[in-house]
Symmetry: C2
Subunit: 429 residues, 2 copies
Amino acid sequence: MALIVHKYGGTSMGSPERIRNVAKRVAKWHRAGHQMVVVPSAMSGETNRLLGLAREVSPAAQTPQMLRELDMIASTGEQVSVGLLALALQAEGIDAVSYAGWQVPVRTDASYTKARIESIDDQRVRADLSAGKVVVITGFQGMDDAQNITTLGRGGSDTSAVAIAAAMKAAECLIYTDVDGVYTTDPRIVPEAKRLHTICFEEMLEMASLGSKVLQIRSVEFAGKYRVPLRVLSSFTPWDINIDEEAKSGTLITFEEDENMEQAVVSGIAFNRDEAKVTVMGVPDKPGIASQILGAVADANIDVDVIIQNVSNDGKTDFSFTVHRNDYQRTLDLLKTQVQPATNAAQVVGDNKICKVSIVGIGMRSHVGVASKMFRSLSEEGINIQMISTSEIKTSVVIDEKYMELAVRALHKAFDLDDPNAAGAKIGS
Amino acid sequence: MALIVHKYGGTSMGSPERIRNVAKRVAKWHRAGHQMVVVPSAMSGETNRLLGLAREVSPAAQTPQMLRELDMIASTGEQVSVGLLALALQAEGIDAVSYAGWQVPVRTDASYTKARIESIDDQRVRADLSAGKVVVITGFQGMDDAQNITTLGRGGSDTSAVAIAAAMKAAECLIYTDVDGVYTTDPRIVPEAKRLHTICFEEMLEMASLGSKVLQIRSVEFAGKYRVPLRVLSSFTPWDINIDEEAKSGTLITFEEDENMEQAVVSGIAFNRDEAKVTVMGVPDKPGIASQILGAVADANIDVDVIIQNVSNDGKTDFSFTVHRNDYQRTLDLLKTQVQPATNAAQVVGDNKICKVSIVGIGMRSHVGVASKMFRSLSEEGINIQMISTSEIKTSVVIDEKYMELAVRALHKAFDLDDPNAAGAKIGS
């Protein structure tokens, strides 16, 4: 018997029938003696429908006043979901009550469409739980100090669920989604990929930020900050699956390194083809040049990922970085019209047919030679590395997009992730 | 320059294009120097869609807990509308802000799905108006003392608009709808029907309660209680119609009898075919018999309209009343199984092929012979009167449904409502 938070995605909430199935699953947990808080997303497609209406009315909503109205509109998708789920629970004979973010309240800053949660009042929810109720709370939204509705941005319901679990000091936050856990890599590319029983928080953060779309990255950060035990599991198992079996399924994100556990050096291979590479060639190698180039990019509100500055040659250097592929053309234009004249650069070139492949593992901290093994494996496949970026627990390379699958498969094999016995307790069956 | 409330129905808000047209109309009033508060309904069809989803999840929502969730769900339709309209106004260059009922707040009792407004705080709205903003407020909803969302029931947005106009002491509340005013009767039945320039509050109340669907009856009651000048006008005129012309269009509901105005005896003919008639025949004519019969009906939550008890004959009497046609069979069953045995009644009979036709006019107060003129007109058309009910300013008859159009036309003519000159200043051109 514990306080448990369940989060269900838009697909799980996609139809009245599916909502009734979510209710049956939650009812099972409640009847097993748990205090239950549930955070459902909007029905799949609903947020897009609502924002589509807004775009038809006003194609370019950008001022804070306009963004405030977008939040007013978009937040209704989750409000409908909580009402429907509470109704479905009541139809199951469970006493349930729904709350919009402002009713809890979930307090956020006033950054409309990308607000951050500041505090959650647990009093009302706790009183309901003590009275034996299941509490259903909207994800994705809150209220600012002036009682305006705010939203947390796309995928924000994961963050809401983790934040609520943190505020309620829940025993575990279960994220039900359309995959059954975190894998060593994408099984669509490597059929031998295996589900991880556990993954530590730092690895999950790297996997999430590197394009593994299982969890929204902010929810992982939040879970890390407040040490919320977080489990990703499938919403496609039958609702009446044995509860003990269900409670151990999926992937648990942990916060303590387990010394007794045989630690895999590399836990997973992440990849991402959303980026593009640009290079400013032949710029004078002098102090301030990096900030001169990146300052202009930041001013244009373009996010930069990997940054590389090559060693100087005759007082000139080449400066490369990657941006989101959607920002590729805008970045090139900006560099050519503003940065090139200002820095006296020789040339601006770019490539949007690249991908980034990364190996991630907490074990890399204490193992040498992991990166060189990665580079050797790629080289054996004849894959040229264009850029390299490293952190304590991951090494990323930028390569030609056409080699992506080949690289992922080669690395998955090289680091023994294919082997059903190699990685020990960390790898799921 | 005045404080004006506009209310737009679901048809006016039915698409992004129509919402942009509403915004243009409101912007015109704002630019003419008025302080504007706007109350839009949900987009047409949206409330039905939301309640349909709720029914699919839980077919029989009747407990207060379930009704609370229905309000949570249904209230989102208006929230989307206010956000979209505020966006459209901003796109017109007007500073606009939207509020859900709870943000104003509009306080109601806790009768979910049919709540009543208890108070409206005008402080936040007044501050916005002083700052030059157009304020867009959800209709149909409010918040109870425990911060739960409530709705006012179908058509409640009219009531919201009037209540807000009352709280803000607005100069006028304009209800934009899909008819261009209140007519002497339904023009689909009597092509000679004429729009009334003004109608007094009591007459409007009778017209509304008798089936003239222009305004929700509770909004008329509210307007009467707080003496809110209320105008019903068309939302189908071009948005750029001259504002002085627009301000005088439609029908104004007034609260002072204008002594100087030539008063028509009968202002309009209302009708309604939503009712059915039941008769308990041969009940003992003794004290308490009416409450014995109607008590059972009231206990079953069935609303009764016209009630007739005939004079006694041999110590027995016949007791007739009308109910909504949807309650007809349930009422018959109840009378036969419970009331007939309990009262020793001879027989229970019913008829659901009836209609109610009424003449309405404040002038009836001071004119004799109006009712008898009505009965004579019907008799001349060979129409048999089944039941009669009167109040100070209306006379209603129940007749065979098949004579409804004939009766309405005959009465419209008999009381000179066909005549373009007869009714003087009260009749619109």
